[in-house]
Assembly symmetry: C2
Amino acid sequence: MTSDELRSVTSDRFQDSDLILACRGRQHPRVPVWFMRQAGRSLPEYRSVRGSGSILDAIADPDRAAEITLQPVRRYGVDAAILFSDIVVPAHAVGFGVDVVPGTGPVVEQPFSGRSDLSRLRPLDPESDTPYVIETVKRLVETLDVPLIGFAGAPFTVASYLVEGGPSRHQARTKALMLTDEALWHDLMQRLADLAIASLLSQVAAGASAVQLFDSWAGALSPEAYRRAVAPHSARVLEALGGAGVPRIHFGVGTGEILRQMADCGPEVVGVDFRVPIDAARRRVGAHQALQGNLDPAVVLAGEAAACDATRDVLARNDGHPGFIFNLGHGVLPDTDPEVLARVVQVVHDEGRVRRVSD
Amino acid sequence: MTSDELRSVTSDRFQDSDLILACRGRQHPRVPVWFMRQAGRSLPEYRSVRGSGSILDAIADPDRAAEITLQPVRRYGVDAAILFSDIVVPAHAVGFGVDVVPGTGPVVEQPFSGRSDLSRLRPLDPESDTPYVIETVKRLVETLDVPLIGFAGAPFTVASYLVEGGPSRHQARTKALMLTDEALWHDLMQRLADLAIASLLSQVAAGASAVQLFDSWAGALSPEAYRRAVAPHSARVLEALGGAGVPRIHFGVGTGEILRQMADCGPEVVGVDFRVPIDAARRRVGAHQALQGNLDPAVVLAGEAAACDATRDVLARNDGHPGFIFNLGHGVLPDTDPEVLARVVQVVHDEGRVRRVSD
């Protein structure tokens, strides 16, 4: 299904939710809030249903994946659910040979190293390769009374795991590949963009109301490297979703220098980590795209007073701009006290101000 | 010895070296170049003299420490030596209880967690606590025909190791301390600033021609947190060295958002990592302080062609500004091929252009 065909099936149900209106910079009563990794190890109810073993097993089980996705919505009253997933799900599903090791992250037995490895990244057929993702989304959409955000890893961040073989501090092999074999690099990125597109379209077809493209490690690149090697592929993913009628969020960490470029990839919403104050991000991105962020997840560990102060600072810096979604600057840390996050939600809902817009 | 008394003993020998002239933005014939961690695991001659065990043992042995410091100067013909050291040397020397574990980094048995731990950070008496540092510097200055750069960790980065107990991705405990007990935080930072000051003054008294303050993890902070909790202490360290007659370099990673603040701490030179192009850094810092950087160390692993291209890009972005020292954006990676770094030095020396200045 193309994204234009999708538009007809896209649910209108959440078009007037705070989240979707904020994504589009339109009038809404209350600043919406959700948290990256709101579902996860910080929640006791997660730990009790998660089971052991690879997270990919839990993701492949719609019962567990749907329950895990719902838990933080119930607990916090956040304004969106984020599909419980992982950025390597599509690559795993097409048989690239990648697993997620608890405490470590994605690990690849045979890292991507040459042209012959491209064949390990065949196109994704969501119906047969990831039916569990579709099933989980469908169940969630039946249950949820807030929008569900679909989930995909951006080509660069996924590539960095496949090339390095696992988490890496410097992404040296990945950078070497993009610099020494540009043709192969772009072929790899194209395959990974195709995976992200197919997966996101299937999530939207199943009822997701928005999508987020996670390019967590994009901040490891110089602006010039991002421009040449990464931005065109992320832009293609976002563009392919453009006709689907759902807002697109484009997120990365440490992206202060490339925020304008990430915005130019065409999303409705640009994710901002805590290093760039929202008012500074607004000056870089402009008034016509929404921002999402950017409480420092480490500050949440400093307790309620510190977290609430920092929450108010983020809200003040947004200064009532209607194109704003409150979130953390990166994912919830495992040691987070859920009570503190609950207070953050309360502060955002009680004190977040949305300026009057004429539309 | 105060820094003003020091000025009288500061060697004039290297005042007209390319490095010192570039630090001061004065006319010099050729762009100077050195590399952070130019001495280290990437060099076979290092591996053959380093020995096993803690790096602190090698640092405490003037024979080895001097030899290790000299190796890259001999091999590459770089324009400066950097004292072989570690940011925890002073804290270790006053008995805080910190070691450096090969492959891991600084590890603290009993992390800093409360006011009573302040007593574990008594003032440093360089003559009796770190005589080996003084001895190493003296030997080096007798031998070297390029300036020696003294070495100290900035209070925040050292604090993060002492509080976290070791390397940390999120510095959550450190941020919690600065947010929840501001008085204790500032007392800790003051002690660590005192350690850095005492150590740097002793290095200058022994003959170091410049100093670099390493605040590697400052980029983990929001600009507001940096302003309140860190900048005053780093500024105090730099100020205390101000009368010593040697240029001061202030370095951190991921510091795009705080570059102006780091410059405002008062150094002659601001270190720039590879995420901020030199021309962008110049706009932020202004024309009156020198910049140092900023080739991506990971790009050096992509081989000679990629490294030389990227080197030329850095030089082009500096556009001949006399206040410029070529370096990497962070330390040399262990897997680096020394032959490639040698070529980088050659390209900088052959092609680096210094504009005519009227002074």
